[in-house]
Amino acid sequence: MLEQIKKIKQEAENELKKISTSQELDTLRLKYLSRKGLISSLFSDLKDVVANERAIVGQKINQLKSDVESSYKELQESLKSDKETEDDVDLFLPGRQPFIGRLHPLTIVLDEIKQIFFNLGFHVEDGPEIETDYYNFEALNIPKDHPARDMQDTLYITEEILLRTHTSPVQIRVMQSQKPPISIIAPGRVYRRDTPDASHSPFFHQVEGLVVDEGISFGDLKGVITAFAHKMFGSDIKVRFRPSFFPFTEPSAEYDFNCVFCRGKGCRVCKNTGWMEISGAGMVDPNVFEAVGYDSEKYTGYAFGMGVDRIAMLKYGINDIRLFFENDLRFLNQF
């Protein structure tokens, strides 16, 4: 009996291999799987097997039946789909598109900036957008009547409460609550009383950086900004620092990167200078350390800012800042 099962199995396998049309397949079905087929007859023969072997033999026949059935079904499917593919279907019709969700380009760029600084050892901090005059100005060495207040046209809620004009207040909040060593970046939204146009938005996004410890020098600041420029835009990009003035840093600098379009050779975008202004930086002014109760003899530090919107504009070649906030799907779908 077992011999017979083995033989039928062998035969069925051989025949299955040769089948190439539906008709041949149907013949095979009739031969093996139909009610009068070979496998059914095996079941009827089972009653002749001695009782103690019947279970084992029965199992073998069952196994054979299911093997042949599944091979049959497989072949049936593949013969069917071959046919459809060849005759009926235009594979070049458009596929069914899901909606595609995307992060905003400013989020993408900010995530990249955060990652670069995280790898350089910076921790992310956050601060409020509605700030007090104290944190936005006073503690940053910008007293009332200081001409530097004119540099930033401020939006006020009340006389003492305002929309922060920069992310620098987070420097103060962090230093008030932590002791050196400090190495943080603080990304966030800031506000200026500017009428919107292609290069101005009344709100935009900055990343503030602050490092305070013993033995921090201007050379460290140059090192970090240079490392950032190389990681963000490529290691051929040069960085230059120019003296400037901010009340909360001394010495103060503006820093420029090589134009990312011409890589420093000079082009229309950079007005042939080869440079692009990025933002401001400098060594933390001792008056700021005093405001937060740090020993300015013992500790030195540097701070820097950068505009996320500006960096994203450079990175993607965007020439109008308003595009970021109109949320036109034709814009958002490009990132």
């Binding site: 540099m151 190495s183 003296p243």
Partner: protein, 793 residues
């Protein structure tokens, strides 16, 4: 500030091209934002001589001229009234293009032919406006190229951004001092050879300072017999180049000295100074004054006022008065040169809303020691250019002399802060080029540098002068601190990514929105208004992310982009207990409208409805692993329709809301489509976040599915039935889903039919039919009795 390249050469010899000079200035902290050439290129304009000039036979205003060039003579028609025989003029032949784009063609005017054009200065782009043709000097020879001839007068005007800490650099001499320092040349300060009259100035004027805290020094000179006329061309040109309009020689001289030295001066007509006396005092309450610009101004408290014996004549350091200004009739000039306290000038200027060349300098801090130099230099020019007689000496009220400051500076501190290795000798040399003496560890600061107060200020000067390029970059920066991710920041990024996975586009919208968009009656209780908004379109801080996103929706709808799924994560702002700054939570908000799917070639697509936003909210809750969340009916939301809103609760906490946006809200910004939205408080989501995921094994045994349908009262909450089914079935109920809902006459008015599919599964064994059947009956009994439901067969 506008600085003339040619004029700078009066004070320092340098051999740098304009571009090189601009680059150097920029790198020491004086950013040259623009270089403007005074002469823009024009071509092929030559000197011609007018050989004859007669009236046009048929036009009164036109002349017919013969213009002689070396090779030929041309007939030209000219409309300028000042054209005359014998003049040298700039001549454009046929075919030449002028800077304004005009191309000269052969023309016929009222029957007479014209072969070229006689040009004005305006037409050559040399001045803004000119009346008539430009008559050239006689010594220019016929046929000479006019542009070549003018090249000698070419100047380059630098537009320099002066930082507010450098009042000393708001002058030609100030900039020249910096150039002298980096070119290592001498600064040439103009010598003054005063020829003074015997009569002393003190005979015509006396000075009293009542409030020296506002005005520590006030000096005056008197110049008699001045002849008021126009300034000579060289001076007018220099003023114009610097952006100052020439007025008359006396006023121009005060402006010229302001530009040259930085020291603001004021010239009074001495005739109007009553009692021959100047009194400097603070303004009193509600005092008014009419300034030179003919405006009456109410003076802020403690404004420094310049008065004579009877009346006020100027706002000290800001603007002179109409009642004492120099006119063409002025004979005797009283020349003021003073030093005002920066704080008082700044305060008054801001409160008056009046910012002048003078106030901008005084509020940053002028040189108290430079007062007399400027006065004498101006007096000298008044004698030279206005024929004035300078009375001898000056009246100088300066009781408490402001001394040079001394600052301790440590060489090792310089190197520590900058990361350099500069020697003491280098420091001495650098500082001396800036006029600072460094000896025995102490720097003596000249009074023209009020910004240098501390050691760190000197360190900055050193850094600036060696230039930042020469500070070595520390390749291995010294941040080795242990670094940890910010949990909140990481969580907010996680939320954003989950919404992107749910096929939302991230938007960023203005946090300032129009108050008009808020329809709520109690809005004034919680809104945060902006005191000085840019426009009515941005006059409050957003109390929700919904209005901003709706603006983005209409923006896209207006551009034929109807299928929208946008979300934003950002702060919202509300006033709580009259505190504006206390609560600024992050919210996360999504809006959807249009189709549920992208249109496709063989499938229809439906418009989004409540169950789409609900499904998205449920998926989000699932994706961020929030448990124990309940949805509760909510009918008083500001933005959501009261019949289609659910609040999202976890225990007592409300995490957010979702539903259909109210029609009246949408009408405010002309959205006709239905819009659905959700808004969560992301701060709360962060607080209850469930980040420690533990793997839970799933059942290895087959499940059994059973369907059943009930006819129920329409008011019954289907979620309660689902919960009741789960409870009645116990732990073997794996899931309960709704697969069909309908209403209709055949099941009775006010009734609905809901069909459920219940999945039974055990973690321990294969379930037997009898066991499942038992649970199934138990469930049916429970639902029928609890909800007065009837099982549908």
């Amino acid at each position: 500030m506008k600085v003339s390249y040619n004029w700078l050469k009066d004070y320092v010899d340098f051999d740098l091209t304009p571009e090189e000079l601009a680059e150097k200035l920029t790198m020491v902290g004086f950013e040259v934002e623009e270089i403007i050439q005074t002469l823009s290129k024009f071509e092929k304009i030559v000197v011609g001589k007018i050989k004859s000039c007669v009236k046009h036979p048929d036009a009164d205003r036109l002349s017919v001229c013969e213009v002689e060039l070396p090779d030929n003579t041309y007939n030209v028609i000219c409309g300028a009234p000042n054209v005359q025989k014998g003049q040298n003029i700039p001549f454009a032949q046929v075919g030449v293009s002028l800077p304004n784009g005009l191309k000269i063609k052969k023309a016929k005017i009222r029957g007479t032919e014209s072969f070229g054009m006689i040009c004005s200065e305006e037409e050559l782009g040399l001045v803004e406006h000119s009346d008539g043709i430009w008559v050239l000097p006689e010594e220019w020879s016929v046929g000479e190229d006019v542009y070549e001839r003018l090249l000698d007068t070419q100047d380059f005007i630098f537009d320099i951004a002066i930082t507010p800490n450098r009042p000393d650099a708001m002058s030609m001499i100030g900039i020249a001092r910096e150039i002298a320092a980096f070119t290592e040349r001498d600064l040439k300060i103009p010598k003054i050879n005063l020829v003074e009259d015997d009569e002393p100035a003190s005979k015509l004027i006396s000075i009293e300072i009542e409030n020296p805290e506002g005005c520590p020094r006030y000096a005056a000179k008197v110049i008699k017999n001045v002849k008021i006329k126009a300034s000579p061309k060289w001076m007018a040109d220099r003023l114009t180049a610097a952006g100052v309009r020439p007025i008359n020689n006396i006023v121009d001289i005060t402006n010229y000295i302001l530009l040259e030295t930085g020291q603001p001066l004021h010239a009074f007509d001495h005739k109007f100074i009553e009692d021959s006396k100047i009194v400097v005092r603070f303004s009193t309450e509600n005092e008014k004054f009419i300034t030179l610009d003919e405006k009456e101004r109410e003076l802020p408290h403690e404004t420094v006022l310049i008065c004579d014996g009877k009346k006020s004549v100027a706002i000290g350091g800001i603007m002179g008065g109409l009642n004492s200004e120099v006119t063409e009739k002025t004979k005797t000039v009283l020349l003021e040169s003073a030093y005002f306290n920066p704080v008082h000038i700044s305060r008054s200027s801001k409160k008056l809303g009046l910012s002048t060349e003078a106030s901008q300098r005084f509020e940053r801090g002028m040189d108290p020691s430079g007062v007399l130099f400027a006065a004498n230099r101006a007096a000298y020019l008044m004698s030279e250019l206005a024929g004035g007689k300078i009375l001898s000496g000056e009246v100088d009220n300066y009781l408490n002399k402001i001394e040079s400051r001394k600052i301790s500076v440590r060489i090792e501190r310089i190197n520590k802060v900058l990361g350099t290795s500069i020697t003491e000798n280098e420091v001495i040399k650098i500082l001396s080029s800036l006029g600072i003496e460094y000896k025995n560890g102490k720097a003596t600061i000249p009074t023209f540098r009020p910004d240098l107060e501390r050691e760190v200020d000197i360190i900055e000067e050193i850094a600036r002068c060696i230039t930042f390029d020469n500070i070595p970059v520390k390749e291995k920066t010294s941040i080795y601190y242990e670094n940890q991710a910010n949990d909140k920041d990481t969580y907010l990024s996680f939320l954003k990514k989950k919404l992107v996975e749910l096929e939302f586009n991230e938007a960023l919208t203005n946090s300032m929105i129009p108050k008009e968009m808020i329809t709520d009656e109690n809005k004034d209780d919680y809104l945060v208004p902006i005191y000085n908004p840019i426009s009515d379109d941005m006059n409050i801080m957003r109390p929700s992310l919904i209005p901003g996103l709706l603006k983005s929706v209409i923006y896209n709808l207006n551009r034929n982009q109807p299928n929208i799924r946008l979300f934003e994560l950002g702060r919202i702002f509300t006033k709580i207990n009259d505190q504006y700054e206390s609560e600024q939570p992050y919210n996360i908000c999504g809006v959807i409208c249009g189709n549920t799917k992208n249109p496709n070639w063989n499938e229809g697509t439906a418009t989004v409805d409540f169950y789409d936003i609900k499904g998205l909210v449920e998926s989000l809750i699932n994706k961020i692993f929030l448990d124990k969340v309940e949805f509760i009916l909510y009918d008083s939301h500001i933005y959501f329709d009261k019949k289609s809103t659910l609040s999202i609760k976890r225990g007592e906490q409300t995490l957010g809301y979702f539903g259909k946006i109210k029609r009246e809200v949408l009408n405010k910004i002309d959205i006709e489509q239905d819009v659905f939205s959700f808004e969560f408080n992301a701060d709360l989501l962060f607080d209850i976040r469930n980040i420690n995921r533990q793997y839970k094994s799933f059942s290895k045994y087959p499940y059994v599915e059973k369907d059943l349908a009930f006819v129920l009262d329409q008011k019954v909450n289907s979620n309660e039935i689902i919960n009741a089914i789960a409870r009645a079935g116990g732990s073997l109920v794996e899931s309960v889903n709704v697969f069909d809902v309908f209403t209709g006459e055949n099941i009775g008015h006010g009734k609905k039919s809901i069909a459920f599919r219940i999945k039974f599964q055990s973690y321990e064994k294969t379930l037997q039919d009898e066991e499942v059947q038992g649970l199934f009956l138990k469930i049916i009994n429970k639902i029928e009795s609890t909800f007065h439901a009837n099982l549908r067969e």
